[in-house]
């Protein structure tokens, strides 16, 4: 009997949480939106969320590209196919690693910060003060951060892929001696703009939306104590990483699985 009560309670709690998250999203994005007032606030948040994540994204992109070139070379050279290093590096970066690794880094670097910031605002009753001054915190605090996340992460993923391909060139061509011409030309004949690059961008937009939504909601919904904020921050990173990995499989199956 108790087991059923627990199950029902859990289910209802989850559904309520989903409802609150959707209401928050609706209030921030659709209801009473004032795009012109939003733009300066969003630019400020693009700086916090995007520009400040640039360093970690560029460095990891460079090293992941370099490691892939090194690993790929040792395998491909056994078949005399080291010319295919370019497409291997480019396709795995554009289709998978670019969007996914950037999303995971973004969840750790920017998502956790968003949750902690909003959670602390709630704990120190800044959100309530805004409401008392008749400023809607959904519009003033939540909406710019949401848009900034959705805008920044795909940009970071593009930069990640480009830097990774250059890193692969650095190791493959400049160090290991793969022919520079075949690195670029086989890559060009293999990579398709619509199929590979655009699908990668679509992926990263979806990831960006999910991560930012989870991060903001966890902060907005956190228990306003220090313990609650720490729990919310942890949950942001865990939930958004799991969501990214799960969604990635579904999106990959839809985009590349059936031909």
């Amino acid at each position: 009997m108790n087991w059923f009560i627990n199950l029902g309670e859990n289910t209802l709690n989850r559904l309520e949480m989903l409802g609150r998250a959707t209401l928050m999203l609706f209030g921030a994005v659709i209801a009473k939106s004032q795009p012109l007032k939003l733009i300066p606030l969003t630019i400020k948040q693009v700086y916090v969320v995007g520009v400040q994540s640039l360093l970690i994204v560029v460095v990891s992109g460079l090293f992941i590209g370099m490691v892939m070139a090194l690993q790929g070379y040792t395998i491909l050279v056994g078949y005399g196919a080291e010319g295919s290093l370019g497409p291997m590096v480019a396709l795995s970066l554009l289709r998978e690693l670019g969007p996914v690794v950037t999303a995971l880094l973004f969840a750790g670097r920017a998502g956790s910060a968003l949750t902690a910031e909003i959670g602390l605002m709630k704990a120190t009753e800044q959100l309530s003060s805004l409401e008392m001054m008749a400023v809607d915190p959904l519009r003033r605090i939540i909406a710019p951060r949401l848009w900034a996340g959705i805008i920044s992460m795909p940009m970071l993923a593009l930069i990640f892929s480009a830097v990774g391909i250059l890193g692969g060139h650095l190791v493959g061509v400049d160090w290991l001696g793969v022919d520079s011409g075949s690195y670029w030309s086989i890559m060009q004949s293999t990579v398709d703009w619509n199929k590979d690059v655009v699908n990668g961008i679509i992926k990263s937009v979806v990831f960006a939306f999910v991560i930012t939504w989870i991060a903001i909601f966890k902060g907005y919904d956190s228990t306003p104590t220090s313990e609650g904020i720490s729990k919310a921050t942890t949950e942001t990173v865990v939930f958004s990483s799991l969501a990214v990995l799960g969604l990635d499989f579904i999106l990959t199956a839809l985009m590349f699985g059936i031909e």
Binding site: I43, L158, Q188, V191, V197
Partner: protein, 155 residues
């Protein structure tokens, strides 16, 4: 002044993204963007196309001159019909040219190799919609092994 700095850095961020996108568009995926250049279509019937795919290259002496547009099965005689779009820069192939399906390297992709025929008076050049009569099918490894086994059993 603080706000100016933020805007400047966001501007740099956007510029970096545009640079990355341009690099991906022009340097990484350029070949597929230039589909719109002038081309004409040639057809060829093969007995067996092996692993040939749409977008495989059409090469003359190793130089890519076009791509495979579509592969269908012709309904009248049940042979694969391959349509190839050839760049209009190369429109001087005589009608006596032949095509065969070749493999690049041991494990490589299959492509269509075009051998230009001799230019003799009275022979016209291939043009839009022409069929190439002289075709050679892909080598299918299983068939080769089968033939080899048969011949070794006989001997």
């Amino acid at each position: 002044m603080k706000s100016r700095k933020v805007e400047l850095l966001v501007g740099v961020f956007v510029a970096l993204t545009i640079a990355a996108g341009l690099m991906l568009a022009l340097k990484v995926a350029s070949q597929s963007m230039s589909n719109s250049e002038d081309s004409y279509v040639l057809y060829a019937k093969f007995d067996n196309i092996g692993g040939l795919k749409v977008r495989s290259a059409v090469k003359v002496g190793g130089v890519t001159v076009g791509r495979v547009d579509s592969i269908t099965l012709s309904n009248s005689d049940f042979t694969p019909l391959v349509a190839m779009s050839i760049s209009s820069k190369f429109d001087q192939f005589p009608e006596t040219s032949s095509v065969s399906i070749l493999t690049s390297g041991l494990l490589g992709e299959q492509y269509v190799g075009l051998q230009p025929g001799f230019v003799i008076d009275g022979i016209e050049n291939l043009a839009q919609g022409d069929y190439i009569e002289d075709t050679k099918s892909a080598l299918v490894l299983e068939d080769l092994i089968g033939q080899f086994l048969f011949s070794s059993n006989d001997g």
